[in-house]
Point group: C2
Chain length 329, copies 2
Amino acid sequence: MNPLRIGIVGYGNLGKGVELAIRSNPDMQLAFVATRRNPDSVKLQTEQIPVYTYDSLAEHQQDADVLIICGGSATDLPIQTPELAAMFNVVDSFDTHANIPKHFTAVDAIAKNTGHVALISVGWDPGMFSLARLYGNCILPDGKDYTFWGKGISQGHSDAIRRVKGVVDARQYTIPIDAAMEAVRSGSQPELTTRQKHLRECFVVAEPDADLARIEQEIRTMENYFADYDTIVHFISAEELKNNHSEIPHGGFVMRSGTTGADHEHKHLIEYSLKLDSNPEFTTSVLIAYARAAARLAKEGNTGCKTVFDIPPAYLSPLSGESLRATLL
Amino acid sequence: MNPLRIGIVGYGNLGKGVELAIRSNPDMQLAFVATRRNPDSVKLQTEQIPVYTYDSLAEHQQDADVLIICGGSATDLPIQTPELAAMFNVVDSFDTHANIPKHFTAVDAIAKNTGHVALISVGWDPGMFSLARLYGNCILPDGKDYTFWGKGISQGHSDAIRRVKGVVDARQYTIPIDAAMEAVRSGSQPELTTRQKHLRECFVVAEPDADLARIEQEIRTMENYFADYDTIVHFISAEELKNNHSEIPHGGFVMRSGTTGADHEHKHLIEYSLKLDSNPEFTTSVLIAYARAAARLAKEGNTGCKTVFDIPPAYLSPLSGESLRATLL
């Protein structure tokens, strides 16, 4: 068997994670990395792998079986995924939930016209959490969904704090509230407010002469980010931030609470949870598994845009159906 | 849309559960129940549904889109699933893990020859737990699997106790051991013995003059069932057994503990768990969702034997791809 040749587009946290994750999958190899920066400025963790410019990718269509596009959802992926799906089979981790239908439509048209497979919104949310919600809904139609995130770093909330005047740096942890999770696990199907489900803990490095009370107040009352939550603000030194908060952990819980029986007398709880030391490395581990599926779908002659909902689970595995049935079923 | 017509074969706990589960799925209707008993002796929970003899099923091939075969794995399904896959699209819950490959081969040949879809080993283990193992293995190839069962009633172990001389009735609970689960959740990837993972608690009704010490000893030393476990035996009255142990709860936990990073420095835990008030009703809720998938696969012209590994998750849902992407992704 020829190894599956993976191209990486974008060499930030996600791109570096894909590069490492390939090492754990002996049926794959890294073909190249593409970047919008000067390729000479990009130092890979793997030797003898070419770095191409993003704009030269059209010349390398024969060099990769699947591209993993490691850009951001706000501005990169809405442009790059349609653009690259015209030339390659691609996988992305587009995670702006509200815009997924629009992204799907744009990518689907191009992938179908050019005969490629494009797998979008792969990762853990959207991704594995979406699958947990789908399976839960289909199995227990009489029920209710709950998703809790954390404990983990929210990049968006950390960035929002950094924009407050007088803030040098910050990390924000989203923390699910135990009492809310226990209420769900009891089967009572509670209605939970935003404030009841999560709290937000912030570690902030301020400028030496900053007004800490004003910064704290601005954070706690920030609309769309903190105003609806109980928020804890700690001021710490730059050194403490570096020593204790430089990792990017995350995780969360998807629960489906439902009932069955003639009088709905039997309660059931399905719970899927993740506890991740490195959010980007886990996300890329999911991307890599779905790259395998994208290649297989393309080989079978499929085209167009797909999501995790469309992929037979066996397609994620390097093992044959026979061996999966014998060992994991 | 015409509703999906479901036929039930066998009217025990599972058959009754399918009948109830259909009520929670408005796109489905119960077509008939088939039994090897005298149909006049079978009293359904639903009015105006015909009860046919198992032997007359060939005459009713046009009356159901999918049959759900609700027999036991020891003697019923190895015969019934191949037999009925020659006439219908079928779903079964064959759960003797070691014999799945043999069952698959037998069913696949017949389903392919006769142009039907046969989905085997659907339920929660095998079934949803198998999916959790597969996804976990594919995402975290550098890792280790753990499955814990319970707390719940093990039918096989309860039956084994009932065969001990002097025992009138019994229920056996399989209980996962917290310390073992916490060790796994810590990311230490421990090696766990059978005894470290589960304990077995037995509620036994003995004959009035039975030698309780001898019964307890026979249970605790029973090879393949109890000898490798710490086992607790309680003697109770028939009334207590009826009042406190007549439900059939079960559940369990599938964990994948893995690492990523250049030096495997990042630990990740994926955990999937079920807490079920009624084992048969949850199993049938899974069967019903997969019956929808079997019908869709058949409509698309697929044939042969499949397992949960082969089914795109979206096929379990009555919703369109568009609406799934907008609401659950």
